[in-house]
Structures are given as structure tokens and as C-alpha cells.
């Protein structure tokens, strides 16, 4: 078997990122869109940790922690918005949420 290189981690990250983007673009449920965004955050984290490992510099892991914190904040605010939205419109379907459509 070939040795595992940064490129392998890059490809894994690329695959997860692409799957996340497809989820954001194709799904209609707002909760699943948020879940896909979490997947994208994770794809970014793989890159940070892999390069931190390759360059033997621990800063990459520190930045991954920052990304995790940002993702947690995003999830909290996003789910709060979804709850407020559901209270007003009784739906989690992104197609039916057109309050700001011009």
C-alpha cells in the first residue's frame, strides 16, 4: 500500500467539502443545510491538522480549535434562527421561506 501523504488528507477534505456543498445546494430542509455546513467546517479542519502535522508546527491545531469554536457559535445562532422561523412560519423548508424575497 502507498504511504499516507498530505495529498491523501487533501483529497479526503476535498471529498467531504464537495459533499457538504452538494448538501447545501440540493437539500430543502434548513436543518440539513446547517448539518452540511458543519461538514464543510470539518473538511477545513482536516486540512489544518494535516498541514500542522506536515510542517511540525502546532499553530494549525490552534486554528482548528478556533474553527471549532466558530462552528459551535454558528450552530447555536443558526438553530436559534430556525426555532424563531418555525415559530413564525411553521416550516423548515427553505423553499417556503421567502420573507425577504423581492
Amino acid at each position: 500500500m502507498p504511504p499516507v501523504t498530505p495529498v491523501h488528507y487533501l483529497f479526503l477534505s476535498m471529498a467531504l467539502f464537495t459533499i457538504g456543498v452538494i448538501g447545501v445546494l440540493t437539500r430543502r430542509n434548513v436543518i440539513i443545510i446547517l448539518i452540511s455546513i458543519e461538514l464543510i467546517f470539518n473538511a477545513v479542519n482536516i486540512n489544518l491538522v494535516a498541514f500542522s502535522s506536515q510542517f511540525a508546527s502546532i499553530s494549525g491545531q490552534t486554528f482548528a480549535i478556533f474553527v471549532i469554536v466558530a462552528a459551535a457559535a454558528e450552530a447555536a445562532v443558526g438553530l436559534g434562527i430556525i426555532i424563531a422561523l418555525f415559530r413564525n412560519k411553521e416550516t423548515v423548508n427553505a423553499d417556503e421561506i421567502d420573507l425577504m424575497k423581492w
Partner: protein, 164 residues
Amino acid sequence: MYQALFFLFAASAVGFAINLLIQRHPIHSALSLIGVMGSLASLYLMLGAEFLAVVQVIVYAGAVMVLFVFVIMLLNADKEEPSDRSKMAKYLGLPLLFLLLAMITVVIYRQFPEDAMVQFGDFPGQTAAIGRLLFRDFLLPFEVISILILIAIIGAIVLAKKEP
């Protein structure tokens, strides 16, 4: 051994991610995301980032996913019906996706020639070093991100609060 483990966890991460997309019910998607998080935590361990692996499990697979599952239960979200896609997306979507992937592949291989690759596994990611870096070199970003998460907490409470 390292290679086999890498491919095992990478395959399970991608498999869970694809399952996340395929499932129609939000709760199944959320559970698949926990699988992705677990696989990634194992990969972080293999990269020598023990602290990050534990944070991944505690914060992501623990706290964030509980939040997601809780909201899904709260909203009693149902299965979503497949929507009618546009014609352009139907015929051009897959070819354009593969074009994008091919372009990224070319860029990655240009950036990393075969002989420049470094082996993983001999780099320790000690927790103490991360803490020292966080509170010494990255003190300002750390404080800024603390304020960010404080604002997020307050914002979430305000957003989810029942209007009087």
C-alpha cells in the same frame, strides 16, 4: 497498518457523509454526522493531534450534535419531499462537478510533487504546547473568539426567546 487505518477511517467518513445526503429524515442525517465526526477524530489521533481529537468528540459529537438532535425533536421535522430540479442542474450538474474535482486534483498535484512528501506520525501534538500557544502567541484571537461565542450565546437566547 497506518495506511490501512487511514483508508478505513477515510472511507467511513466519506461513507457517512454520503449517507447524510441520501437520508431523507433529518434525524438520520444528524446521526450520520456523528459518524463523520467520530471517523475524523480517529484521523486526528493518527495525525498526532490528541487534544483536537478529544475536543472533536466532546464539542462536535457531544455538544453540537445534541443541540441539533434536540432542535430536530423540538420541531418534529418530517421527511422532506424531493423537489423538482432545474433542467440545467440535471444535465450539467454531474459533468461540472467532475470538472471541478479534476481541476482541484491537478492543482494539488502541481503543488505537491511526489518527492516532496513527508511521512506523518512522528510529530507529537502535546496539549501543553497548544495551551501555551493559545495563551501566549494567540492571546488576542483567543479573546476575540471568546467574545464571539459570548455574542453567539446571547444571540441564540434572544432569537429563541418567546416574544411577549
